[in-house]
Amino acid sequence: MEPILFILFGAIAVGGAIMVVTRKHPMASALYLILTLFAVAALFVLRQAHFLAAIQVIVYAGAVVVLFIFVIMLINVPENRLPVERATGMRLLGVVAAGLFILEAAVLGRRFAMPAAPPTDSGSVQAVGRALFTDYLLAFEITSVLLLAAVIGAIALAKKKI
């Protein structure tokens, strides 16, 4: 069952990602981005990472993409003033770079030879929470400072006059 679901959700994720980078209007891209994020969340569930799947849906699809859609609607560039896309040179460069990354991932995947651990609940809320609040407590706290800095920075940048 898992291979079928992997191929299904992997194909949805890749197809959605391709649509994100090829659509002309950013609103269509944002909606396809939601599709990709949900498919990736399903892949997390397949790998028993239930906590991360929930966070993916809540934080990414629920907060980040909504932020994108807010901004798209806020600045509302008229259809005829959307940027004209670049000639094929940069696209070719992008495809070559992407091909290199995919090749690298394929080679890494083939040589990946670590023995599988016995199945554990390493992705459960309990296991992740314990790791976050013991081994990675400092990193976790610094993350909250990063978020605070981002909030202040975003307000300071977007405000007309401080």
Partner: protein
Amino acid sequence: MGPSAYLLLSGILFGIGVIGVVSRKNALIVLMSVEIMLNGVNVAFIAVGSHLGDPTGSVFAFMVMTVAAAEAAVGLAILIAIYRLKETIDITELSVLKW
């Protein structure tokens, strides 16, 4: 399914994100492509983490998501400020800092 298939998928997602960042002019879509790249990285973290039975993979993916949220907030704020100033979101027209 071993982690190799997931690593390949992760590479494909990252590569599509690279194509978007390199070839698009619309700054909003460039930011979305960065999100796709970060998601590709998360797939690799989760796949290897669950293969090794170690919650560290999930913890790192969590950190990546936090950084992605912060990046989206600051990036979009910069975009709004730029649009207010120059009335464009075309990244090729924003070359004031080009030497």
